[in-house]
């Protein structure tokens, strides 16, 4: 970690070497390590350390972005030279471009000592713990990782904001002779990962997954675990909350924004301050990020505007620009699906007939206009009979329209969990829903 003073010094150097140029820059540094295991053995063990400086320069309503990992004076000089050449060749935008308003904010540091001091041996000891819990009958697959990231947003009009944060995460597939279970978690530090509690669920699911039952495609009542809920709502946020696509009338938000789409207790936020989230305090344009409702009391409340989309369509930027290279794209990076009032055990015990789904695999968008998503079940799918998970079920493919899914929600659990996710960590509860559409089976 380079520390705030390094970036303050860089702020001075950039203003010196980019004098006369209007620019916005994101400078970042990260150190990450990951220990991966399969067949109950460590098979991959890596560390990477890297820096990056991205500079967006503007002149005559043209923009260009140059990125390098050479943070030396010479690197800055070369980047300026490249930007001058790019601006010469570039053509003007079709909207009036402005650099972001200057954010003034305190430096934010959220670094946990457990991550700061972690070694390969520490990560391996978590693997040891998983191995011990798995015993002889279950094989362990997964990873343990940690990361420290810091970045500063710097602009020619005087902006300087700095943030640093740590994260630790793990996932674990427990594999028995006949089936599997899965858990994951991401937290600011190792002590909040809940490794001990979670790994036992994966092992239990793996052991329970014998004598798999094959069921026919059709509409079923399902209870989704937090991993499956996170996946589904990530795709919702990706397809339905980008203001740019909304303004082009190519997003389902055109029909559903402002509408009731689910029960009163369906509340979804982008919340960088949530205690179970990794706090992304500023976006790449230096805009301070606050807790923002996306779905509130069942009503689809807000979509997000990146810096470019806001300028283009006369909106206020919401703090969701994630790359200088695409100023039109916005996405919530701290998704939280709030818990309801009912304990999950009660939701299950009150379900006479249904299916429990632990995790989805390889989701994708079939029809973006309808927010129709497909995917497979994976690592723990069970029949629910008379309030109990009875038999494991062979994996099924689903095709589900998101806004039909939310309309069909019957219960949301009180408990929420952190899940690692493919792109961002998400906090999610268990959700019970009717008429979940399974369209094919693997037979």
């Amino acid at each position: 970690m380079k520390g705030e003073n390094f970036y303050r010094n860089l702020f001075r150097l950039m203003n010196e070497h980019f004098m006369g140029m209007k620019f916005l820059s994101v400078v970042s540094n990260s150190e990450g390590a990951l220990t991966r295991f399969a067949n109950s053995e460590i098979h991959q063990n890596v560390f990477e350390k890297k820096s990056l400086i991205s500079v967006l320069a503007t002149r005559d309503n043209k923009i260009a972005v140059a990125t390098t990992n050479d943070l030396s004076i010479n690197g800055l000089k070369e980047t300026r030279k490249k930007l001058e050449q790019m601006l010469e060749n570039s053509t003007p935008l079709d909207y009036e471009f402005k650099l972001p308003d200057v954010s003034v904010g305190y430096p934010v540091e959220n670094i946990c000592d457990s991550v700061k001091n972690a070694s390969a041996e520490d990560r391996a000891q978590i693997f040891d713990k998983i191995l011990k819990a798995s015993g002889k009958d279950v094989q362990a697959f997964g990873y343990v990782s940690d990361n420290i990231s810091e970045n500063a947003v710097i602009s020619s009009n005087g902006m300087f904001v700095y943030q640093a944060y740590s994260s630790a995460s793990f996932n674990f597939v427990a594999l028995s002779d006949s089936g599997s279970g899965y858990v994951s978690s991401t937290a600011k530090g190792y002590k909040d990962l809940d490794v001990d509690k979670k790994i036992h669920r994966a092992i239990e699911f793996a052991k329970k997954s014998n004598n798999l039952l094959e069921i026919d495609p059709g509409l079923y009542t399902v209870i989704l675990g937090p991993e499956a809920v996170s996946e589904l709502f990530f795709y919702f946020s990706y397809v339905c909350t980008n203001g740019y696509m909304h303004e082009l009338k190519m997003s389902p938000s055109v029909r559903f924004l402002g509408q009731r789409i689910g029960p009163d207790n369906l509340n979804v936020y982008d919340d960088p301050n949530h205690q179970m989230q990794i706090p992304l305090t500023y976006d790449v344009c230096g805009k301070k990020r606050e807790k923002t409702p996306i779905i509130e009391n069942g009503v689809f409340k807000n979509i997000f505007y990146s810096h470019g989309a806001a300028l283009r369509f006369g909106k206020k930027p919401t703090g969701h620009t994630i790359s200088l290279e695409d100023l039109d794209f916005a996405i919530p990076a701290n998704l939280v699906i709030e818990g309801g009032n009912t304990p999950v055990d009660k939701i299950i015990s009150e379900t006479k007939s249904g299916i429990y789904i632990n995790r989805f695999h390889y989701m994708n968008v079939v029809d973006p206009y309808e927010a129709m998503f497909t995917g497979m079940t994976r690592d723990g799918t069970f029949l629910i009979e008379n309030g109990q998970l009875t038999r494991a079920i062979k994996n099924m493919r689903f095709n589900v329209k998101f806004f039909e899914f939310t309309k069909n929600i019957e219960a949301i659990s009180k408990e929420t969990e952190s899940t690692s996710g493919e792109y961002f960590p998400t906090v999610a509860p268990f959700i019970k829903v009717k008429n979940f559409n399974f369209t094919s089976k693997t037979a």
Binding site: A38, K49, D94
Partner: protein, 481 residues
């Protein structure tokens, strides 16, 4: 740089490592995107760094840095060693590496015109013209175009004695047209979707695409598509075009033949594979028409190179021969477990990442038919073109693909009628056994897929797929919504 890397390997050897390699890479990338005739993005990205891989007794460690000084490299070598020692403490079996001759060589992907010598203005103008031409067609709501260029220089040295320098140049481009109707919006893309087509050729590859010339056709089709009906769900004979078949090969053949996946290394993330070791030389993967190779030697293929990132020479090997499953993609460690030579599939997407087993160019070899002959064999069915969506289960069996358009075939002829939102699904070996004809080499093209994701930390790899349109009998099309 080569000397610095060799010095580091000497240092590691002095610490008693069994094997080590070091890779220095420089990546230069340019991306341009245009929307409705206006420039949207112009970016240039340069990064460089060194990755060091160490094998102690039986434990691997890898560490990477973008710092350049000798002391920084020594520090990162120590980190790789410390990591390898933590792995080794828990190792249960002996790590063996398949033997590979020592290579002291250099390789340059062949191109005629360096894309970085072409002015940004010239590239922007082509995309502007193409998107404006598409936008001019009545009913088109939006047209986009993009280009991507990359130049990678790398040096690889290993304690085995290999010293390899390579330069790979990548060029790619594509355009889209979108139209909005009552039932939603539709997209048509050329020459393929999700950024178009890519290759390890130079600017000449972009020139040959004739983006401007093709813009009106996709624009007219997309306007037609928004008014088009959907296919009534059912079983149909279909022809799948080359650009869609490339992704079909990618998902249902390319990924399941990765031997690390077969052996469980990806199980917690991207999943396993139905092609378990007992299937090798036993499973009837497809019909007799289906022959598939892994070929990193095709000039211009996006998955082509001189040597992989373990210093193994690029090769062409069979994966499926006349329908029989006969081979995997391997690195040196997994090949050793089968007592084979690696077929050169260990690739890293950056200096900061470890090489893992990746596709090269996985090719469905051409058949004997003309496209008209394939069409003439269908009483009622569809020709499906250009990928829109994909999904496949964790063993690579149950798949579902959506394409941008379906062209109706009736009595052996294209009727001119189009259908929107076609979706087809099946189980991998059942599907490939329903293939009863592949178009000939005149229709064969190596499509570039620049966004293949695998591994944790995630790596995004450039791979290629040679395909020609192929016919399949009795495929389920359409899902109940």
């Amino acid at each position: 740089m080569q000397e610095k890397l060799q010095k580091i390997l000497h240092y590691l050897s002095s610490k008693g490592v069994r094997y080590a390699d070091a890779r220095y890479e420089e990546h230069l990338q340019q991306e341009i995107s245009v929307e409705d005739g206006t420039l949207k993005t112009l970016t240039n990205n340069f990064n460089s760094g060194t990755g060091i891989r160490v094998l102690t007794e039986n434990g691997w460690g890898f560490a990477a840095t973008d710092e350049r000084g000798e002391s920084a490299l020594e520090k990162i070598a120590d980190r790789a060693l410390e990591i390898a020692q933590a792995s080794n403490k828990r190792a249960k079996k002996q790590v063996k590496l398949a033997p590979e001759p020592i290579h002291q060589d250099s390789f340059k992907s062949p191109y005629q015109k360096d894309p970085f010598e072409i002015s940004e203005r010239e590239k922007i103008e082509i995309l502007k013209d193409a998107t404006l031409k598409a936008k001019k067609v009545e009913g088109v709501a939006r047209s986009t175009g993009s280009m991507l260029f990359r130049k990678i220089n790398k040096v690889f040295v290993s304690t085995d004695g290999s010293v390899i320098e390579q330069q790979i140049v990548v060029s790619g481009a594509g355009i889209t047209a979108q139209a909005v109707g009552e039932g939603g919006f539709q997209t048509r893309s050329y020459p393929s979707s999700f950024g178009g087509d890519h290759s390890t050729k130079g600017w000449e590859f972009i020139e040959q695409m004739n983006l401007i010339e093709h813009a009106p056709k996709i624009a007219q089709e997309v306007v037609e598509l928004v008014k088009a009906p959907e296919i009534e769900p059912g079983e149909y004979d279909i022809i799948i075009s080359g650009n869609q078949l490339a992704l079909q090969v990618h998902e249902s053949c390319g990924h399941p033949i990765e031997l690390d996946r077969v052996m469980g290394s990806e199980l917690s993330f991207a999943g396993g594979s139905f092609l378990s070791l007992d299937k090798l030389n036993n499973l009837k993967y497809g019909s007799e028409h289906v022959t598939i190779t892994a070929d990193a030697t095709i000039p211009g293929g996006l998955g082509s190179f001189g040597y992989d990132d373990e210093g193994v020479q690029a090769q062409r090997t069979f994966i499926v021969k006349n329908g029989l499953f006969v081979g995997y993609l391997m690195n040196r460690q997994t090949a050793a477990e089968l007592g084979l030579r690696s077929n050169g599939a260990a690739r890293a997407d950056s200096w900061s990442h470890l090489p893992i087993i990746r596709m090269t160019n996985i090719n469905l070899l051409p058949g004997k038919f003309t496209l008209d002959e394939l069409i003439s064999g269908i009483d009622y069915g569809f020709l499906l073109d250009t990928n829109k969506s994909w999904s496949i289960d964790d063993l690579r069996l149950n798949f579902q693909f959506a394409t941008e358009i379906a062209y109706e075939i009736k009595n052996g002829k294209l009727t001119g009628k189009v259908f929107k939102n076609p979706v087809y699904f099946d189980i991998t070996p059942k599907f490939w056994n329903k293939c009863d004809g592949i178009a000939n080499e005149n229709y064969w093209h190596v499509w570039g897929v620049p966004n293949c994701g695998k591994g944790q930390p995630m790596q995004v790899m450039y791979v290629g797929h040679g395909t020609a349109p192929a016919r399949f009998r009795g495929i389920k099309v359409g899902v109940r919504k």
